[in-house]
Symmetry: C2
Subunit: 281 residues, 2 copies
DNA sequence: GTTCCGCATGAATCGATAG
DNA sequence: ACTATCGATTCATGCGGAA
């Protein structure tokens, strides 16, 4: 089967209108947080954030299949010593749009940003929020199981806490690749807490999240040949993972330099793989 | 200094009125979640939860010192396939009461209860919410520092080898001094993500949280001789920890069997410790 | 070819300074 | 008074050069 990748250059508030109804199985995205990415999206002010995002959410609701899932990775910014409430208000407003707020996952960022302040600790958690159109959404829990056999149990018991966490993240990312090494292990279902580190210093690009994060959600909510959408493509992490594990993908990015970078990276990758990629702008 | 513990039997909606203004440094509590503890607080329906809790929050706002902190350990219940929104609405309404929503911590429950549902994973995370009256609250970050990661560990391990050699050539007194300084170097400030196991070792009852959870917040937000309040005392975990690390404590509990249990446990404990406990009902 | 160490780099946040 | 910008703080990570 050919795996098809579409890239759009432009503002997703416009480009999303080009996508057909009920055509996407999973949208995983990490939109610019409030007051971030000023050079691309202009740094949306916390007080304008909900109003800015709701039309995008409405389009995603239209584009998603009834069995599909929308995962929104976001975190409240601190404003004047308080956690902002725009994420709370966004959830409440998206429910009024017709979304179901199904679940809240927790991503523990092992390597969070540094800093020290007298009245606050470093923020090491982000909250991928799961939204659905229907209670009968597709979920493939077996695709993200973790080994808990005797071998793993005894080994984990003797390791330090940091090592345990690292093992968990390895399992999450390497399950498909290293299946043979886990043979004979007893497998357990995952929880809603993920432990991953962000990739720190890449050469050409900066990714907001590690490949393991979209990979986990793509495996959990889609199968081979399904379609994944990221309206805030950025450096293209979600799309590259989707292609690697054989899901169709659609990406939208407003910044030309990011768009060109992903386009190049994809062209080479697809050339090697002899797959078809529709690069549209 | 005498450590004083007060226990009240009754509904905290009434008993909180007995406590004086600005007399508490930290209130740490885990209220009954919606539809839980039906036999005591009547199993508050999710849609009534905010209305039920707001008068309690108002009392806590009155009782708390200006430099004090309120930590509310709560999690959205799943209702009809969706995460309930009463916690979101509670945060928004408490801000209208005058509370500052300072921070959202994440407690990762390492060994959470087993279970499997077709469209949901086990919940391994809770979100202790931090509220304050003022931006100038007390916080003692050094009291909860954590061991550093691998990079520093390996570096210090090598450093210690050379230092050991150097120390051996010197007088013996310097050895202990350096040990303590190494220990200091191996510690880092915490993040807002806590990794604690849930407790399962107790005999008579199941506590809602392990002692480490209130202990962490009590150490972070109070010093010896400060006062801790738990208006939903339950099995008394918060109060027992507070007494152990020498903080005054006030507990309120509506269920007589819980109240009596804590009273007994406390009486014996305090008898051993020769401290004074004011048991009031 | 290993292992080891140095170094740059962050979805951060506060407080001070400047317009 | 209110907002924008900047420096200081801090630590996990992975790359690349060195031993």
């Amino acid at each position: 089967m050919e795996i098809r990748t579409e890239l759009y250059l432009g503002d997703c508030r416009e480009k999303l209108h080009l996508l057909p109804d009920e055509s996407v199985d999973l949208s995983f995205t990490s939109p610019p947080y409030a007051d971030r990415r000023r050079n691309t999206y202009g740094g949306i002010h916390p007080s304008d954030y909900v109003e800015w995002f709701l039309p995008i959410a409405a389009q995603l609701l239209r584009i998603l299949k009834p069995t599909g899932t929308f995962v929104l990775n976001i975190r409240e910014k601190v404003v004047n010593g308080e956690r902002s409430t725009y994420v709370l208000e966004l959830i409440l407003n998206m429910r009024r749009q017709g979304w179901l707020w199904t679940e809240e996952f927790i991503w523990h960022k092992k390597n969070c940003s540094p800093g020290k302040w007298p009245n606050r600790f470093r923020n090491a958690g982000e909250r991928p929020l799961q939204f659905n159109k229907s209670r009968k959404f597709h979920m493939y829990q077996e695709a993200v199981m973790v080994p808990m056999g005797d071998w793993a149990k005894t080994r984990l018991r003797n390791l330090s806490e940091t090592d345990k966490i690292r093992d968990n993240s390895k399992v999450g990312s390497g399950f498909g690749k290293n299946i043979s090494s886990w043979l004979g292990c007893e497998m357990a279902y995952s929880t809603n807490v993920l432990h991953l580190a962000t990739e720190c210093s890449h050469k050409n690009h900066r990714a907001a999240f590690p490949e393991e994060l979209p990979e986990w959600f793509i495996k959990l909510f889609t199968r081979e040949g399904d379609t994944v959408l990221d309206p805030f493509m950025g450096s293209g992490t979600t799309l590259i993972v989707a292609d690697r594990i054989r899901r169709h993908a659609v990406g939208i990015e407003i910044a030309p330099e990011y768009f060109e970078m992903v386009k190049k990276r994809f062209a080479g990758y697809q050339c090697d793989r002899k797959t078809y990629g529709a690069i549209l702008s």
